[in-house]
Symmetry: C2
Subunit: 408 residues, 2 copies
């Protein structure tokens, strides 16, 4: 008899994007002619850099000719893209890796989900209290969690990350083996400074822990005290995997391409007490669970490293960051407590009048036609918060902020 | 301290494609000017159907415009592709599914690898004795296997599939919970007839087992007694997941797109004795481990269902199948025992003179410049076999077969 994997039973079905869309669709049916202002998006709204478009057009053409046609590509990614990534790390972060440390991915989601599969389910995984639910969900599915009680899983360690800490995660107070860090934080937009990140690297070195560092929003960092890569910190190669995305800055959400760096210096221990390179474990996963990433997507990603693309990407980032500033200013002027939006497109703020976040969400939607993201989807402790995002149309945003101002 | 997942320790590092390429590269260095005849390929050598090329060009263009730009797509795939798949199943196999039963994938590899993650590690998994090693490897990584002894894992059930059974897998003689079937077989090219497949469906219904049916090579079926889909068999919706690829027939290996059908009728049991839809478990995996498949690849796949593409795909398949016939004829004429090649591009044959398969491989490579696939990479019991493939250039193949004929 087929038995279900119990980890898949204990994790609830809900998916917050769907929960939001259901409510938006219900509103649309009731108010078919009303304008809706979407200022809660999680990915760019502007088109791809032109060189990436051209490069993907050429890649499609390659596959249409006998001479340039390709079958299965290397599981780990093509050298043409890996070389560009290595060069960027050398020039931007003054850090070198061997080729085999870079793994091209179909976006960061899959790698972030798979990563806790290569470590023992006996390992204790630590997750910031306020962080994208994907880390927690996949850690549960991968068998690292115990039971759910009051919205928290036993066996997982939750790192304090709330208003009292300025939404910056605090170091574990107990020993943990694996730590998810997202910097800038992919929920609140807050960011850990270089000097603070050093304390995490030191903690991991001391406890032989592994940091899984999600740097998907690194292109949005404006403050020079915030590191663009964890490898800017001395010793990080021995403790950290870094996961990167092209979706958040270069509009690649529909293209599906990112990369993961697994340094050769990282080690895990076997039950028999031997050390093995984590790179080898991850390579085994990639070789067995994928057949490489789309050649077309990889050619697109390669073209993101041209001078022209870099200019276009910083223009895209600036557009979203100006939006974020407008949101910050307006919410500040309205007297809200505001976080993020300075090194991230996300603005996280406290809901006035002690409303719950779904109640506030529905108020914004039904009374003002504005769609944000209710904090509760990022954990029960965030039910007094709401998120807006700079990933929106400037004119819509200005109109939405005006409506809010006139109604609060 | 980070502990490795022991399943990743116990599975060996080797990957057969790399093992072959290493030997070919060594030969190339020694003989830089010698022609090499590659007749062991695992994917098409001819370009994409033209409509798929055009459709992907348009998709790339979509992402370059403000109006058509897209961010994250639906995790399960776009309706435009799912609708085409559903229509194909209705017209080709007279079977209907609800939309939510189709999951667009980045190719069959990932889905075949992930599928045993949604069932309990207590479940007994059965794998044909001669089958692609990917099934066995990922079943081990997913925690279903015990210890390795003489090339076989305890806790896995190996289904007899050798010369005495004409390389057709035999029904389990003990109770098993999950069964991998590949039809036509992705190693030997042999195929299970409709009447025999019915016995598998009946077995699964009786034992409440789940069949994972890999139909990647269905486009190559010429014999009308061989089913193109397991859902041609009555009752299969209650026992089988079907996995499909666009790589093997439509030259999509570098594009990365396929699909998986998980009928609503499939059920798994929880430890608490309740039944849950397997579709819901799989949806949970897809929603948490992916962020959808490349929009460009999905637009390419959509265009494979035009009348023009269908004609082009059958021309591609015919080209490879004529190659397969040439191989069969020549090997038969040389007195070899030959399997497959009639409903599959793969030809599986017994090596003469009791050579081992690596020895024969090296003989073909070094003495004749011919590259095939040694049987041992598909399990130790296949060390007296070799595989050739119709995925090659016709002229090269004719030259290679002439060389073989003159040398044996």
């Amino acid at each position: 008899m087929v038995l279900a994997n119990e980890n898949y039973i204990k994790l609830s079905d809900s998916h917050y994007i769907e929960d939001i869309e259901k409510r938006v669709n219900a509103y649309k049916i009731l108010h078919p002619n009303e304008k809706i202002y979407r200022i809660g998006a999680i990915s760019p709204s502007l088109p791809l850099p032109l060189d990436a478009v051209k490069s993907m057009q050429r890649a499609v053409e390659d596959l249409s000719t006998i001479n340039e046609f390709r079958g299965y590509g290397p599981a780990q990614g093509y050298d043409f893209l890996i070389d560009k990534i290595l060069k960027e790390y050398r020039s931007n972060f003054a850090v070198s890796f061997e080729k085999e440390c870079v793994f091209v991915s179909s976006g960061s989601t899959t790698d972030l989900a798979n990563i806790t599969n290569i470590v023992s389910s006996d390992n204790i995984v630590a997750i910031a209290d306020t962080i994208d639910p994907a880390y927690e969900n996949t850690t549960v599915l991968n068998g690292h969690a115990g039971k759910l009680k009051n919205g928290k899983w036993s066996n997982l360690v939750y790192l304090q990350c709330n208003e009292s800490t300025n939404f910056l995660p605090q170091l574990p107070t107990e020993r943990v083996d694996v730590i998810f860090l997202s910097n800038p934080n992919n929920v609140t937009g807050t960011a850990i400074k270089r000097s603070d990140l050093k304390r995490w690297v030191d903690y991991a070195a001391e406890n032989e822990s592994l940091i899984i560092y999600d740097a998907s929003f690194q292109a949005f960092i404006k403050d020079e005290n915030i590191p663009g890569s964890i490898y800017e910190i001395k010793g990080a190669k021995k403790v950290a995997i870094e996961i990167r995305s092209f979706s958040k800055d270069a509009s690649f959400a529909a293209v599906r391409c990112g990369f993961t760096i697994v340094p050769n210096e990282l080690q895990a221990c076997t039950f028999g007490g031997k050390y093995v390179p984590i790179n080898r474990l991850w390579k085994k996963l990639i070789q067995n669970y994928t057949n490489g990433v789309s050649y077309i997507s990889q050619r697109g990603a390669e073209a993101l490293f041209t001078r022209k693309s870099k200019t276009e990407i910083s223009e895209l980032v600036n557009y979203y960051m100006i939006n974020a500033s407008l949101i910050r200013e307006e919410l500040n002027a309205m007297g809200y407590r505001v976080f993020g939006g300075q090194n991230s497109p996300y603005i996280w703020f406290k809901i006035p009048n002690s409303n719950t976040s779904w109640k506030f969400f529905l108020h914004l939607l039904h009374d003002l036609g504005i769609v944000g993201t209710p904090g509760i989807v990022f954990g029960p402790e965030n039910d007094r918060y709401m998120r807006f995002s700079g990933y929106c149309n400037r004119n819509d945003l200005i109109a939405a902020l005006k409506i809010m101002k006139n109604n609060f």
